[in-house]
Amino acid sequence: MSGEPIGIMGVGQTPYRRSNPELSAGELVKIAVDQALADAGVGMDAIGAVFGGVAPDALAGIKDIDRMSISVPGRPYLRFNTGGATGASVVAAALAWIGAGRADTVLAVALERMGQASTAQAVFNTIFDPIYEKDFVLTTITMAALRASMLVKRHGFTGQHWAGIASRNFTNAVDNPLVIGARARTPEQVLASPMLAWPIRRYEACPTTEGACALVISRAGAIPRSHPTSWIHGMGGSSDTYSMGERMNRLEGTLIEMVPLRRAAELAYRQAGISDPGREVQVFEIQAPFSIIEAMAYPALGLCEVAQSRPFVDRVLAGETGIEFNPSGGAQAANPVSATALIRIAEAAQQVRGRAGPHQRDGVRRAIATGQGGATQFSTVCVLGGDRP
């Protein structure tokens, strides 16, 4: 990154559970914000701007729910929505704001209130084109399942691969005290769960989750030397065509090559000076609400060639890569849609700060968090490091 370094100096997260009827939306956000401010050692008076993220309002059933829960009087406020990538878009905007010299310290906040919806999948159906596509049962589950069939045909993946990834994520989540009700699951248990949309089973998909996450982000000059800080080494983002059908026959990559994630990774790696991510990065928090999305992300993140996708998953499942994937349990164990990409950044930041708690990994000097939203339309890659750039 050029210019004055920027770091994450405070992290706040609520517990993640299906619903929180004992808390209003604002009360839920305040838990995360108060924690982030306390962790940063600053008060709300230090906050120069607030960046908020909420994806489809219809999940909460309150239009512009961020107005009642995230915006803070007396500060500039901007809200973002890039689906599951929302939380990372919030951070990208915060970095740009600080980089432009408009504030020393800002808040990046995201909220998911989907526990109020009677059915999330009918809401997700409304994100698709009503003219050409919406009639055909498109949901987040079927959009993932369509890709899964391509991956099976192209690379020979089997249910064992998806189940293995899911099992590791659910099992990791047991050590994350924020994932309420986390349960370790064996690959056999995943494969025994009901089929939702062939070849995707219930335990290859994320659960309905509410929660909020907040980060205090500052320019280096506003961070005390001794303060444990996770430095932003790189931040990349890119977008793709909305129509999934138009992403099938392309030179730059089909629906399953995650072209925007690859581009985001290239941008972020260039800024961070990373040439071999598999060796230079110890922890990846991948925003993959389905195990098949995680399998697609590996080559896009430069961890293997596209043609080596299946052998690489075999190596991941055998624990042969030396990389820690989703110590938190990832989006598969808890996926508060609007907040999930911010949570990935928060978790990666805590890993490099050595403050991840029971699921802290050893010797983490660099961690990567991804964001993924809008039927793989939006992707982000954030590189975090313990060393000040």
Binding site: E22, V137, V152, N249
Partner: protein, 159 residues
Amino acid sequence: MTAPASAAELLLLPGNWNFDYTYFAGETASRFFAELRDSQRILGRRCPQCERLVVPARSYCDACYVVMGDWEPVGTAGTIEAFTIVTAAFPGLPEPPLVIAFVTLDGADSALLNFVEGVDLSDEDAAGSYLFEHDRVRVVFSKQREGRITDFHFESIPG
């Protein structure tokens, strides 16, 4: 905040969103649907820059960000690019089991989504294997056509 109220005291207020909308398809999609309804033809438009024939028709190529050129019909048979067999029911969505697929019709450079019929869905794993081995489908037009994307579906071509 005071101590949390007991679960019985927490207010849970029912609510719903139920608005009516009129979706505006625009001129290009409207012509696509008129051709579908009146001539049982599926048309795309070709991008003058990347030269892809995009089906269903769009007024502009968003990758190149230029206005599309000529209208061209495509074949009524095609190849499955991606499919899924929907097996779980969700409130407000069509009843399973159903097969949906993105199909590249012969001559097209993009895929369009529709239901696939003519597949035995009694065993989903067998149906999945069948669709990998039999990835060709043909377009079947409805007798009563309304100028909607549901005026046709795909049917698996055996053999």
